[in-house]
């Protein structure tokens, strides 16, 4: 029941949103819908923990062996919660940003939320693919209509990139489907295939899936759509893209690839890990050179996602748990960064760090909140990201599936240092130093912005200090995942 609601509420309210004439009403309506979704998600987390509430299964395309099957497992809970939290935060944070044709804007945002929820909830490969694309289309329109100067090219690059990846994945899904004995797309049938698909087939099938996920995450060298898309999108959309959408890739990896093709995952682990690490270092180095705030955050996100992917391939309990919790943390943290970027851009109409400076004098609250978020970005202890990165790194170090675990840990660890370099640089250039003519008249936060940033900071600290609830939530998922991945490697 709850999963269905999570998809249907944003979907329906988004469609209704198209019809609302008044801009303000549309805004409020979307916020209302997003908050309702959040409550539904929370109720799934707290009140209704029975399976009956957490899954739904309806006949959809019986002749094709596909069902409308959705369920909330631990990972799903985490990601749905992230999605559900993100959207109200985004709506509140951008409350003052004027969008022409706001109703369409908000309606499309809600549609993308529905798509994202669907991706996180789908337990049927075809349904998964459906939502995968459904989440993409609204975002494409959002970028292309409300984006920056080069929006058409950037969003199109993004679209073609991800579409290509996903359609290649479709081939993989079809291949697996055609090998299921019961001709079914259900996750269970796919898991049952594990021993039937030979190692040789897994070797190439792996890439059919992984490319789609790698593009989404993105993993070096398939990342070039990302900085452009982030830069050109309206920030609200960028938030969706980077906070939630990139998680689709990881979810795909964790739910649809690693347990389904464990041999392939195992065999290509080192190769992929290598790309992840190159990407981490590379993106960090490139981030150091950026002057545009959005691009900086974009590259930093690439580095972080690289680590998460690396941890998945380490196949250890520690690492997986780290990934699970980081799924949430990364979303929250980057959301905070984007909100700050959005506020700066709205006030000064520039994102160039070189044109800013001295904001800490004029907007101390913003500065403090940003510093906390930035510290979470560099994974300082007692922030949420530390928990995730600590677990992931220790997972990589303890990995038994690769011989290069130490090398991986150490080289990937360099990015910890580099992340400090560019993050502190950003703080320095934007907030410290003296004001200039542009930042002279800077204003501090409005209450709504303060509210969302405080929520984010509270979440950052709360999870950083007491991560147990989140860890417990995904414990079961991790255990099943590891069993699925492990039995085949023997």
């Amino acid at each position: 029941m709850i999963p269905v609601l999570l998809i249907v509420i944003p979907l329906v309210s988004g469609l209704v949103g198209f019809l609302i004439r008044n801009e303000k009403t549309a805004r409020s309506w979307s916020l209302f819908a997003a908050v309702v979704t959040l409550f539904v998600s929370l109720s799934g987390l707290i009140l209704h923990k029975e399976d009956a509430f957490l899954s739904a299964d309806v006949a959809w395309l019986p002749a094709m062996g596909s069902r409308f099957s959705v369920a909330l497992d631990g990972m799903g809970q985490v990601l749905c919660l992230l999605t559900a939290i993100s959207f109200p935060i985004i709506f509140i944070a951008t409350w003052r940003t004027p969008y022409k044709n706001a109703r369409n804007f908000y309606a499309l945002m809600l549609l993308s939320q529905a798509g994202l929820m669907g991706v996180f909830l789908a337990m049927d490969a075809l349904l998964f693919y459906f939502f995968w694309e459904l989440a993409l289309i609204p975002v494409y329109f959002l970028c292309s209509i409300w984006g920056g100067e080069k929006r058409i090219a950037a969003s199109f690059k993004f679209f073609v990139y991800t579409f290509l990846g996903s359609i290649v994945m479709l081939v993989g899904i079809l291949w697996l489907y055609s090998h299921t004995p019961d001709h079914s797309f259900s996750l269970k049938s796919f898991y049952a295939l594990r021993d039937k698909v030979t190692g040789h087939d897994q070797l190439w099938l792996f890439w059919l899936f992984f490319i789609a996920f790698a593009i989404k995450m993105p993993i070096f060298p398939l990342h070039t759509w990302q900085p452009d898309a982030y830069e050109q999108s309206p920030t609200a959309t960028t938030m969706v893209l980077s906070a939630v959408m990139v998680k689709m890739g990881l979810l795909g990896l964790l739910r649809w690839l690693a347990p389904v093709l464990p041999l392939g995952t195992w065999a290509w682990g080192d190769t992929v890990s290598m790309f992840c690490i190159i990407g981490m270092i590379y993106a960090s180095l490139v981030a150091m050179q950026q002057d545009d705030l959005k691009r900086l955050v974009a590259y930093s996100s690439i580095a972080h996602m690289g680590l998460m992917c690396l941890a998945v391939f380490a196949t250890t309990q520690l690492g997986m748990q780290g990934v699970m919790i980081q799924l949430f943390n990364h979303g929250i943290n980057i959301l905070g960064l984007w909100i700050v970027v959005e506020l700066i851009e709205r006030q000064f109409h520039t994102r160039k760090m070189s044109e800013l400076g001295g904001l800490a004098q004029k907007a101390p609250v913003l500065a403090i909140l940003l510093v906390v978020v930035a510290l979470a970005n560099v994974a300082l202890p007692l922030t949420n990201a530390f928990i995730g990165e600590f677990l992931m790194f220790s997972g990589v170090y303890a990995s038994a599936v690769t011989r290069y675990n130490v090398v991986f840990t150490v080289t990937a660890g360099i990015s910890i240092i580099l992340s400090a370099v560019y993050t502190l640089n950003m703080i320095q250039k934007v907030f410290f130093g003296n004001t200039n003519t542009l930042t002279e008249k800077a204003k501090d936060l409005y209450p709504n912005e303060k509210f969302v940033l405080i929520v984010i900071v509270v979440l950052i600290v709360l999870i950083g200090v007491y991560p147990k609830p989140v860890l417990d939530l995904t414990k079961e998922t991790v255990d099943t995942l590891l069993t699925k991945m492990a039995t085949a490697t023997k």
Partner: protein
């Protein structure tokens, strides 16, 4: 049989209607009425009510597959008539001549020809001998030559008609040579499709030659590369309203015939020709998609896109399974509806180039929105019928566990296709401009929305069509 006879008769009725009335509206309504009758008669046929118990000497075989295909074709034609019948009346009209504006030029004849084409199409979907296939294709082709050239003062239309005619008759020659060889190879000396490939014939070189020639000529008719060259020119030169018809209903009909021919007669010898179909498919996908990328005229782009779509439909020929048969019907339906829709919009545009679409979303949101749905469907994005169409095609090949390279190549081409379809969307939504349109009649928007809804329904519940289709699993 219902469909064949009624369509032929109604064609004659339409032919004569021009004598009795000069009022083009009544002619139009007559045509639409005829089509409804045709559609219903075909549905009745499907349910076992045969109006004309004619002795066919087994030359036609009315199975569910063929009749369903007919239903789809007629349904699509109905939508086509509803949307574009008014534009048929305007073909060849001289704006300076009030008489022709009022009554249209040859309106009745155009409708008659379309009915004849439908008659040919129903032959092609239900043939059981090569003779009927040949006749059906000719009955389709000859009216099309004329419809292509119907805008007589337009040199482009002239040129298109001439090219189409010359190349069409050339391909007829190839087809006949192929049929002759198959006849020579058959053991019994028969043209029945289940006999031509029986017994020792299958190993005879005559058979191979005949099969190849037949493949080539069918490939020509469905505009598969490298036999597609007529398509862009003809689609571009013909009046847009007829291009719409040619690119959708006619093409779908020929595909049904194609799969029928190869499924029934050459199914057992699949291994011998699969490679050729694979090559043709790859070439079609490649050329269609790549050439469409650079087109500046939307009309011509759609022509190339129809080649690219044919490439996908060829997957069904390649795999020839139950899935393929279901898929080709679904493809025919989804593709036809989307293309009819996008052409209906295109006809209303004064400027057929890409720039002509700039800023359409602002001035005509319904046109832009529905066009977007149609284009998304053509690109094969989920939630539209086009997705399941492509899905079936891919699945049918994947299930053969062969030609995976072709599937991958196909999906890459599909990604390329996104490029040119989205250029139109980009023009409509993200660019500024003052698009010039013709007068948009009342109800037109509603019909477009209806089409869009059909597309989306097909994209969410292909089941209602597939439920029908699942009956033909064991043909």
């Amino acid at each position: 049989m219902n469909a064949i006879i009624i369509s032929a008769v109604w064609g004659i009725v339409m032919m004569f209607s021009g004598i009795f009335t000069r009022n083009k509206t009544s002619i139009r309504y007559l045509a639409i009425a005829g089509l409804i009758v045709l559609f219903l008669a075909n549905i009745l046929d499907l349910q076992g009510h045969h109006f004309f118990p004619v002795h066919t000497a087994n030359m036609l075989f009315f199975d569910t597959f063929g009749l369903l295909a007919n239903a789809i074709l007629f349904g699509a034609t109905l939508l086509y008539f509803l949307l574009s019948a008014r534009d048929i009346e305007n073909v060849g009209v001289k704006p300076t001549d009030p008489e022709s504006v009022k009554a249209g030029v040859n309106t009745a004849e155009y409708f008659a020809l379309i009915f004849f084409v439908l008659c040919g199409a129903s032959l092609v979907t239900t043939f059981n001998t090569l003779l009927m296939l040949f006749l059906g294709i000719e009955i389709i082709s000859i009216p099309l030559y004329i419809l292509t050239g119907s805008d007589k003062r337009n040199l482009k239309s002239n040129e298109a008609a001439l090219k189409y005619f010359l190349m069409g008759s050339f391909s007829t020659g190839l087809m006949l040579l192929g049929i002759a060889f198959l006849y020579g190879a058959s053991s019994q000396g028969s043209f029945f499709i289940d006999e031509v490939a029986a017994g020792r014939a299958a190993i005879s070189p005559l058979f191979i030659v005949g099969l190849l020639l037949l493949l080539v000529s069918m490939a020509f008719k469905v505009s598969a590369a490298p036999f597609h060259f007529w398509t862009p020119d003809v689609y571009d030169g013909a009046p847009a309203v007829f291009t719409s018809f040619m690119a959708t209903i006619v093409k779908a009909a020929v595909f049904i015939g194609f799969i029928r021919l190869f499924g029934e007669s050459f199914g057992p010898t699949q291994v011998k020709w699969q490679l050729f179909v694979a090559i043709i498919t790859a070439a079609t996908l490649f050329i269609g998609n790549l050439t469409a990328v650079f087109q500046q005229s939307v009309k011509r782009m759609l022509a190339y896109s129809s080649i690219a779509q044919a490439g996908f439909m060829l997957f069904a020929i390649l795999s020839l399974g139950e899935i393929a048969k279901q898929g080709i019907l679904l493809y025919a339906a989804a593709y036809s509806v989307a293309t009819i829709g996008i052409f209906a919009v295109l006809i209303k545009m004064k400027d057929h180039s890409l720039e002509g679409f700039n800023g359409l979303a602002k001035h005509h949101p319904v046109l832009a929105f529905t066009s977007t749905i149609f284009l998304l469907s053509l690109a094969g994005i989920p939630l539209t019928g086009g997705f399941f169409a492509k899905y079936y095609m891919l699945l049918s090949v994947v299930q053969t566990h062969q030609f995976l390279w072709l599937v991958i190549f196909g999906v890459i081409c599909a990604a390329v296709s996104v490029y040119y379809y989205f250029r139109v969307i980009q023009a409509m939504y993200f660019k500024e401009g003052e698009p010039q349109t013709l007068e948009i009649p009342a109800g037109f928007n509603g019909l477009l929305i209806l089409l869009a809804i059909i597309i989306i329904l097909l994209g969410i519940f292909p089941q209602w069509l597939l439920n029908q289709l699942s009956d033909i699993i064991y043909l």
